[in-house]
């Protein structure tokens, strides 16, 4: 099922709270598609340039807001066979905003005047959710070019994952010409009836706002908003097209989460919101699940209390090892500590397992829930990413220590 999504989707959007490894999962998804022969792109918007780190590429290669191809030599060097082509990019939301302004401003002059406004520079960060909006806009632009078989969007880390869905609506609210026009009228025409009413009420609108922000700010921002108001129709059309793109059958949303209660509650909440917004929800990925011991090509289960080797057995096993010459006296201590540590690891894995069961029980419908193992090596190169791609294509890993009948691969 997952392999099919990576083979057939044109757009995959990964959402989730910060710190769950969303960027890595996104890169691995796009890489998986490339390895399978598609032309794929991963888009990330992150000032810390995590993707650049994840791919082991110098920061200077990114930041241009344009896709950058991970070249064949790099794959060869890493020993990863890739039949397709793999692109990555860092989103630069100011450049995206500039392009949108150029495209939708009523005239060249108005676009230029807007970009020269001192407050315009602050605009993209000031508008709540503007980053999210820019991410989706850029996604839309790149889908329109038709240059990629699959684009994976790693959404910006937001305090609240639903910002992503509400961003266009919110931006439209700010740009909405009608209230602005209303407001403008009162700013420019203090003789109007409403203006008189407000003065009569004890404070003019202008004086009132001026007290909070200062009069100069009001003037600058009023002008900026008036100019932005001219973009409204274009932006609205753009937002509608973008929304259509996200709802299209070849688009899929994945929720990336961690096996901890806070992340899982957030993931559940967001699934609800996605379904309410009628977005195509493909499932959950629980990332960095503890309790997986890589052994050869597979995984070895953790040992429960009953099967835990005795201190004596461990000591006997240790005694024969040549590297332990001269340490014989400490073997008893090591044996005891190894047992204690294993119990600690086992308990952590068991707790994580229970959290995943909790997620499955509370999730709406019977969505896909994939597990990605916590491994010793952090993933920061193509080899690591390719291995994660493999795991993703297989629908994640099966539980080894706590077998679980419901698990589907």
């Amino acid at each position: 099922m997952i392999a099919q999504i990576l083979r057939d989707s044109r757009v995959i959007v990964n959402v989730g709270s910060g710190g769950v490894g969303k960027t890595t999962v996104s890169a691995a998804m796009a890489l998986g598609a490339a390895i399978a022969g598609r032309k794929s792109l991963v888009m990330t918007i992150d000032p810390a340039r995590r993707l650049a780190n994840a791919l082991g590429i110098e920061n200077s290669a990114f930041g241009s807001d344009h896709p950058f191809e991970v070249d064949a030599a790099r794959f060869a060097e890493a020993g990863v066979a890739c039949d397709g082509r793999f692109f990555a990019m860092m989103l630069n939301h100011k450049e995206t905003f500039d392009r949108l302004v150029d495209r939708y401003a009523p005239s060249v002059e108005s676009a230029e005047s807007l970009k020269e406004n001192p407050w315009y520079q602050q605009m993209s960060t000031a508008l709540a959710g503007a980053q999210d909006y820019m991410a989706v806009s850029r996604l839309h632009e790149l889908v329109e070019t038709g240059a990629y078989d699959l684009i994976v969007l790693d959404t910006p880390p937001t305090a609240n994952a639903i910002d992503f869905l509400e961003a266009p609506e919110r931006l439209m609210g700010v740009l909405n010409f009608q209230p602005l026009q209303w407001f403008q009228k009162h700013v420019s025409d203090e003789g109007s009836q409403a203006g008189r009413l407000l003065r009569w009420g004890g404070a003019s609108l202008l004086r009132a706002l001026g007290r909070v922000t200062g009069r100069e700010v009001i003037d600058d921002v009023s002008q900026l908003l008036q100019e932005l108001g001219g973009l409204y129709d274009g932006f609205r059309l753009h937002a509608q097209e973008t929304e259509k793109l996200l709802r299209a059958p070849h688009s899929q949303f994945f929720m990336v989460t961690a096996p901890q209660r806070t992340s899982i509650l957030e993931a559940l909440f967001f699934q609800k919101r996605l379904l309410e917004a009628r977005m195509p929800f493909a499932g959950f990925w629980v990332n960095r699940v503890p309790g997986y011991l890589r052994h050869g090509e597979g995984w070895l289960a953790l040992v429960n209390e009953t099967d835990l080797p005795s201190e004596q057995a461990i000591e006997v096993a240790l005694r024969g090892l040549p590297s332990m010459q001269g340490e014989q006296g400490a073997l008893g201590t090591i044996a005891r500590e190894l047992r204690a540590y294993h119990r600690f690891v086992y308990a952590a894995a068991e707790l994580a397992h229970r959290e995943i069961v909790f997620l499955r029980e509370r999730a709406i419908g019977k969505p896909f829930v994939g597990r990605l193992p916590l491994v010793n090596e952090e993933i920061h190169d193509l080899v690591g990413l390719a291995r994660l791609s493999q795991t993703l294509l297989q629908g994640g890993v099966a539980p080894t220590t706590f077998p679980d009948s419901e698990h589907s691969t």
Binding site: A258, L338, Y341
Partner: protein
């Protein structure tokens, strides 16, 4: 330890999403309260979670008011949200209730205000300033210490930066006056310290180093300490492992057990789990060294503790507080001796 932080009036905890800023904020609040200080923890437009860390019952969210509630003895919490913070600014700081009722309740005005660049950030940090400086009971500040659990990196930086932006762009007026007061507070090393919170992993480490440079060089604001959260447990009890060679020997041993195909799988699993633990610990030490070298701040490691089954994290906060109080933070001078740093995991 921690005294050098708790003597300030404002502590700001910064870091990437998911690194444990809220936990560090709660832990420091506990440490200050234990010294008899009255503490206010400020969260910014966050989902409530301080009750998990500190206890107490948060009030129902009310859009007209940000309620300060009591979470623990001498510890209060407030979640600063855009609309109520704006109201308080106008009503309490400017003393204009009538104006608020007339103008700010208007939906259209709200659209406009939302578009005033940086106003929201200014209101947020302005409210923090209010609790530090102005919020007085009988002439004395209501709280001895305000701890700001900042939003993650980008939004957190916007909050620290906004006063300077206003000073650079706005020539005069109340917005500028507010910015001047805020900037004075943020730049004063006797009043304020900014802590960094990080995990011993590659990406948070890189982001923390960048963040630290921005705060130190661009913003020139006073830095306090670095908290390295989720420090992995040592597979062997470091207290009992006196022999420095023991760890190396143990590591080789795990390899041998793992490679020996004749072994029963339980023994191999035991060795693998411990080897994985040692591996993670060694990686973590690498990040610790890099962080101490680059950020040059006293650095506390906070152990990764098992999550309690009932998700009540109060006990965990107490443990973390005790760990910090009984440990000497790492400093640049420790770098000279890698062995020493390694041993103190």
């Amino acid at each position: 330890m921690l005294e050098h932080l708790l003597s300030k009036q404002l502590i700001i905890n910064m870091g990437k999403g998911g690194v444990g800023k809220s936990a560090v904020s709660a832990m420091l609040a506990r440490a200050a309260a234990a010294r008899g200080k009255r503490v206010l923890v400020c969260e910014i437009n966050a989902k409530e979670r301080m009750s998990q860390y500190l206890g107490g019952t948060p009030p129902e969210e009310d859009d007209s008011l940000d309620q300060i509630w009591s979470a623990h003895e001498r510890i209060s919490v407030v979640n600063i949200r855009p609309a109520p913070a704006m109201k308080e600014y106008v009503v309490q700081v400017l003393g204009m209730r009538l104006l608020y009722n007339l103008v700010f309740e208007n939906r259209l005005i709200r659209y406009f205000l939302r578009a005033v660049p940086g106003l929201q950030e200014l209101i947020f940090i302005g409210k923090v300033w209010f609790h530090v400086e102005e919020d007085k009971v009988k002439g004395a500040p209501r709280f001895d210490l305000v701890i700001l659990d900042a939003p993650s990196t980008g939004h957190g930086l916007a909050l620290l930066r906004i006063a300077k932006v206003v000073l650079d762009t706005v020539p005069a007026g109340p917005m500028r006056q507010a910015a001047e007061k805020i900037q004075r507070m943020l730049l004063d090393p006797r009043m304020t310290c900014i802590n960094l919170v990080c995990l011993p992993e590659e990406m948070p480490t890189n982001e923390t180093i960048e963040l630290c440079q921005k705060i130190r060089e661009e913003l020139k604001m006073p830095l306090g300490a670095l908290f390295l959260n989720q420090w992995p447990r040592h597979p062997l009890d470091p207290e009992s492992s006196e022999h420095p060679m023991l760890e190396t020997a143990a590591e080789r041993l795990f390899h041998r057990l793992n490679q020996d195909a004749q072994r029963e799988p339980e023994l191999v699993a035991l060795a693998l789990a411990a080897e994985g633990g040692l591996h993670r610990l060694n990686k973590a030490r690498g990040y610790l060294l890099e962080l101490v070298r680059e950020v040059k701040l006293p650095t506390y490691t906070l152990p990764r503790l098992p999550q309690p089954e009932d998700h009540d994290l109060r006990g965990m906060m107490k443990t973390l507080m005790e760990v910090c109080q009984h440990s000497t933070p790492f400093a640049v001078s420790d770098l000279a001796s890698m062995e020493q740093v390694g041993r103190r995991g």
